[in-house]
Symmetry: C2
């Protein structure tokens, strides 16, 4: 049971940024911005290669498409490189999804799916969140 005063989102888990060239972007964030890469993976299901760059309790998630007909490929084609999504960390994603649905917020999946590094994730539809693609992330360590 979560108390009324406990926040729904405990932190900004990461901010997703669409990039053309993952290696060049990692090099820029490491060299110019002084960030450390904490994780890198290729997700063939989502058609994306990604890297997590550490900032305090949060991360910048660099996202490069595996092909043009993927979510990130289409984003780059229409909007160009830039911020693509906002991900909040949650402790219990099932509880948070239930509370959001009660508040009338539209979620993308009926049940959470597996995201980066074994996390459980769901998304709020941009039309339900003022044009922002919002991801909810329950890190692997909390389940």
């Amino acid at each position: 049971m979560v108390s009324m005063s406990e926040p729904l989102f405990t932190a900004i888990d990461h901010v997703g940024i669409a990039v053309e060239d993952l290696d060049a972007s990692i090099a820029f964030y490491e060299t110019a911005f002084g960030m450390r890469m904490t994780h890198r993976e290729t997700n063939t299901e989502q058609g994306v290669e990604e890297a997590m760059m550490e900032v305090g309790e949060s991360a910048i998630q660099l996202l490069a498409p595996l092909s043009p007909d993927t979510t990130i490929g289409k984003f780059l084609a229409t909007k160009g490189p830039g911020i693509q999504q906002m991900a909040y960390r949650v402790t219990d994603i099932d509880d948070v999804c239930a509370k959001l649905r009660e508040a009338g917020v539209r979620l993308l999946y009926d049940e959470p799916r597996i995201g980066t590094a074994g996390s459980r994730v769901n998304f709020v539809h941009p039309k339900s969140a003022g044009g922002v693609l919002v991801e909810l992330v329950e890190p692997a360590s909390s389940h």
Copy 2:
């Protein structure tokens, strides 16, 4: 003297989101997303009315334009509501700006200016940061 291993950016200070209606957006972030508003101000110089919504050590900054011919007014007209900027917290903005210039990063101002809540701020040009408008924030408490 900052050691080589200390990160340049200590946290995501805030993520700026352009909105049409500030009161409606604050109500949504409070009610649906369960966030607490920690600050609200009108900056006539920048033509923006803004609210800070707390998330862990970071915040979501809701930005509504005072008129169409402002930075946020033009952003809304061309891109619609959504994520507009990424702000990193720094301890010593003069030191960080010098290091970024050394790395070949283009900054918007020669000297930091006064930002939200008495902070000292500067911006990295989006062309220098993969299409992302990056703000650097030294909070008022650290100077």
